[in-house]
């Protein structure tokens, strides 16, 4: 019996692509975001970072959940999956495990990532699969017109919290760090240069990389606008040792309501694919020669 063989990715690329013009990773249509939405800059930054990264468009998949930010895949010229609310990470996980050669980028909003998708976030961070997660934090549910989100500041008013929220907000950076992410960075949508750099580093990092982006919703959350972020953030100093977990923890703990912008933590340790790969080679696994009789012999 022959098993369907997965083609190696290189074989799937046609010949005439050798000397094509500069790749574009952005789609041709205009995004359907509100004018001045922070997410435009994230799109631009990802486009630039991917250009530097250099992989062809068709080896990249952008996976999202549901939300304004999750519309992202439709504005890209890559493969894309606009999945269900909260499920970007497990979809990305399955895809990456099944096709380790692809570059898999998960994207989503704060609600998608940390409300309904919180459990997947939690478990993705400890798995350390080699994927990049771009989280567009606007401290609100933009798509559903402005309810409070897990990242909303305590006491902030919204359609669903007319008297102010009553729950401790989640800091995505702190959450990722303490849940085991091997790469944690934070950017702001208005600083495209820095953001591009951070995304590029994330793409190059082997392991789960979170880039949290402060990305204002200009329509439904005026309290987190560009000015607020600018006055409540600071660039992480060059003296910060991003390879030191304790230093990273303290950086976040000491931020006290301000947003440290830059690379917070990075440490390479074996990825999930590598660990699973280890098991596979230990078990003698290979996709090409499958001996069903041998496997079935245990039932004899």
């Amino acid at each position: 019996m022959t098993q369907p063989e997965k083609q190696p990715i290189s074989a799937q690329t046609s010949a005439q692509t050798a000397d094509r013009p500069r790749r574009t990773y952005k789609g041709s249509g205009h995004p359907t975001w509100c004018p001045a939405c922070g997410d435009y800059s994230v799109l631009g930054s990802l486009d630039r970072a991917l250009t530097a990264f250099g992989k062809p468009e068709w080896e990249i998949v952008v996976v999202s959940g549901i939300g304004c930010s999750s519309r992202f895949p439709y504005f890209m010229n890559t493969y894309g999956f606009h999945s269900a609310h909260g499920r970007a990470l497990p979809v990305a996980t399955g895809l990456k495990l099944a096709c380790p050669d692809l570059t898999v980028i998960a994207v989503g909003g704060d609600g998608d990532a940390l409300a309904i998708g919180g459990n997947h976030f939690f478990h993705a961070m400890r798995r350390n699969l080699d994927i990049t997660y771009l989280l567009m934090d606007n401290q609100t549910y933009g798509m559903t017109k402005g309810q409070s989100a897990p990242t909303s500041m305590m006491g902030s008013r919204s359609k669903s919290s007319p008297y102010g929220t009553v729950e401790l907000p989640v800091d995505p950076v702190w959450a990722a760090l303490t849940m085991g992410a091997s790469f944690v960075a934070q950017g702001a949508s208005f600083d495209i240069a820095q953001l591009t750099g951070l995304i590029l580093q994330a793409l190059r990092h082997r392991g789960t990389a979170l880039v949290n982006v402060m990305s204002p919703c200009v329509t439904f959350n005026r309290s987190l606008d560009k000015e607020y972020i600018q006055s409540h953030s600071y660039l992480i100093g060059t003296d910060h040792d991003s390879g030191d977990f304790h230093a990273a923890l303290h950086l976040v703990l000491d931020a006290e309501g301000r947003f440290p912008l830059g690379l917070i933590y990075r440490k390479e340790h074996p990825t999930l694919e590598e660990r699973i790969g280890g098991i596979t080679s230990h078990a003698g696994g290979s996709n090409t020669k499958v001996d069903i009789d041998k496997i079935a012999a245990q039932f004899l």
Partner: protein
């Protein structure tokens, strides 16, 4: 067609004792040996939900032809404690045998013509191996000896079964088996009347419904499995956890069922055949994402090993209560295929069929197994591993395209257009759960919407049109009787036996046992209704007659036209149907109807 039990011989052996007695291994050695010799085997065991001691039974039926059920009263009883004797002793059939380590005088009487043989299991085990712990394998040996089965096969089975264990445990058990075998051989003449030959000397696999599903997945090409433990489905994940790495596939235990299905959907988007397995509560949680797979037209297989619900219900008990959820469960309307295997062999074959259908039609497929089937063991032929048609999905051919690649192209016959897979140049598109146009871009235009709704409807028709290429069911509607019976899934075994018994009493039934429950085999059903049918019995293990209602809704016009009365035989008490129970229920309904004209 499943053959009848009447060809060749069959005997039923029951092992019963304490949970510490090693009853299951004892029975399995005998079962596997018989299967290797070419016998057909059917086993059934009961044990408690939570591991905490108690009585264990293992019933083993051996036949020269395929077996429909685990049998009824035993021909041979291996009773290891008093309760075993009290339970089953009186039920041993005339001419039967009871093996026991130490009988007491005050134990209850057995039926006439039943021989009792004292078997010094512990003594033999200690004498030969220096330890009492092999006494269960001594018992297996005695049985093999009594039945004249090949000692060498038995020894091989024992060696392989205990091969992985630490120390010289395998060797000890081989010795124990041998000791028992000699003991049994000497008394062998008492079993002459219970012996019968194999019809075809070949090696058969003996495996459970869950194992057959897992093996089917491998053979069917599944290379990605994500799961979350749940009774009674966990063994599928567990077996694949051990085997997937050996063939370069991936098995991952997810954080919950939602993540498990999401991961499968992701892997499927990547072009890898993927599957998950769960039970009712997990299926409920997966319903939202099932619709995503349907909208994005991604193949994925979901195994639902049904257990008695609702809610946590009775996790270790049998039921067929998830049919409605499987067929109708989703907000809005999304196509899916629902398949229900009827035997262990079916678990194997229908899992492969599920993978094939999913990839041929780009659709989620739900396979409805159930608790009793998942833990039942039956033989399948080794050759079955190779005689299965595997569908090779024709992918889109990568290349530079003029316009945007159209993932959701309209085709005249309702078939999906070829998929591009990430990594293929020029094939970039966006999949998702929003309503979309041919490229996959979101589009809520009423005209586009109508086309897409139609597309999803047509997909179901395309599947129905392909039914003749699939084992879509066991259909016997040529018998032109007024009496018809429909059933599905694990109930098949009891139903077939009941039908045989009814035939014996002069009631011939046509029957339809669809394997593919959704979409329905319309043509077959319509022929059936037009064949002179008057009463249609629908047998299923739930309280609200789920399948019967679906038939009534779909075939109202035909039922009206041909004046067919649908009569439901259902129960939902956690136990499978027994053939006798079915027969009684059916005869009662017939009697009611026969009286009707007179009574009025």
């Amino acid at each position: 067609m499943i053959s009848s039990d009447n060809i060749g011989g069959a005997i039923t052996i029951r092992f019963e004792g304490d949970s510490g007695d090693g009853i299951i291994s004892m029975g399995k050695v005998a079962a596997r040996t018989a299967a290797r010799l070419g016998y057909h085997v059917y086993t059934y065991s009961t044990f408690l939900a939570v591991v905490r001691g108690g009585q264990v039974t293992f019933q083993l039926r051996i036949g020269s032809a395929p077996l429909l059920s685990q049998g009824d009263d035993p021909d041979i009883l291996v009773a290891l404690n008093r309760k075993a004797f009290t339970d089953a002793g009186p039920r041993v059939r005339p001419g039967g045998i009871i093996l026991h380590p130490s009988i007491r005088d005050d134990w209850p009487k057995t039926g006439p013509d039943v021989r009792m043989i004292d078997v010094p299991l512990e003594e033999l085990s200690i004498r030969e191996t220096g330890s009492a712990r092999c006494k269960n394998i001594v018992a297996s040996g005695i049985l093999l000896g009594l039945l004249g089965f090949s000692r060498r096969e038995g020894e091989d089975v024992v060696r392989e079964m205990f091969g992985g264990k630490e120390g010289d445990i395998a060797d000890m058990n081989v010795i124990a088996l041998g000791a028992g075998y000699e003991y049994g051989e000497q008394a062998g003449d008492v079993t002459d009347h219970l012996r019968f030959p194999v019809l075809e000397s070949c090696r058969r696999l003996l495996l459970s419904g869950n194992e057959a599903v897992a093996l089917g997945a491998l053979v069917g090409g599944v290379r990605f499995f994500a799961g979350y433990p749940i009774t009674p489905a966990s063994e599928i994940m567990e077996w694949l956890a051990a085997e997937m790495p050996k063939i370069g596939g991936t098995m991952i235990q997810a954080e919950d069922e939602i993540a498990a299905l999401a991961m499968c959907i992701g892997a499927s988007f990547g072009g890898v055949k993927s599957m998950t397995a769960t039970s009712g509560p997990g299926l409920s949680l997966m319903i939202e994402l099932l619709a995503l797979a349907g909208m994005a037209e991604l193949p994925v297989v979901v195994i639902d090993v049904q257990r008695a619900g609702p809610s946590t219900g009775m996790p270790t008990k049998e039921a067929q209560g998830d049919l409605n959820l499987a067929i109708h469960g989703s907000h809005g309307e999304v196509p899916r295929v629902v398949i229900a295997p009827q035997s262990v062999a079916d678990c194997f074959r229908q899992t492969i069929e599920a993978v094939n259908i999913a990839h041929r039609f780009h659709i989620p497929v739900i396979v409805l197994s159930s608790q009793s089937l998942s833990h039942r063991m039956q033989t399948i032929n080794l050759s079955d591993l190779h005689n299965v048609p595997l569908f090779e999905e024709p992918f889109w051919k990568p290349g530079v395209v003029d316009e945007q690649y159209k993932r959701f192209m309209q085709t005249p016959d309702g078939m999906p257009s070829c998929r591009s897979i990430p990594g293929m140049e020029g094939g970039m598109y966006r999949a998702g759960g929003l309503e979309h146009d041919e490229t996959g871009n979101p589009n809520f235009d009423p005209e586009v919407r109508r086309r897409m709704v139609e597309r999803r409807r047509e997909r179901m028709h395309a599947i129905q049109r392909a039914f003749h290429e699939m084992e879509s069911g066991e259909f016997d509607c040529a018998c032109r009787s007024e009496l018809g019976l429909v059933s599905w899934g694990a109930t098949a075994s009891a139903v077939f036996e009941a039908l045989q018994q009814l035939k014996g009493e002069g009631h011939t039934f046509c029957h339809l046992m669809p394997r593919i429950l959704w979409p329905l085999p319309d043509t077959t059903f319509r022929h059936f209704f037009a064949s002179g049918l008057k009463y249609l019995f629908v047998c299923e293990l739930n309280a609200t007659r789920q399948f019967a209602e679906i038939l009534r809704a779909r075939y109202t016009a035909e039922l009206i036209k041909h004046g067919v009365e649908v009569i439901s035989i259902t129960k939902d008490d956690g136990l499978p149907f027994t053939p006798g129970e079915l027969k009684t229920a059916i005869l009662k309904e017939l009697a009611n109807r026969a009286c009707e004209p007179k009574g009025m």
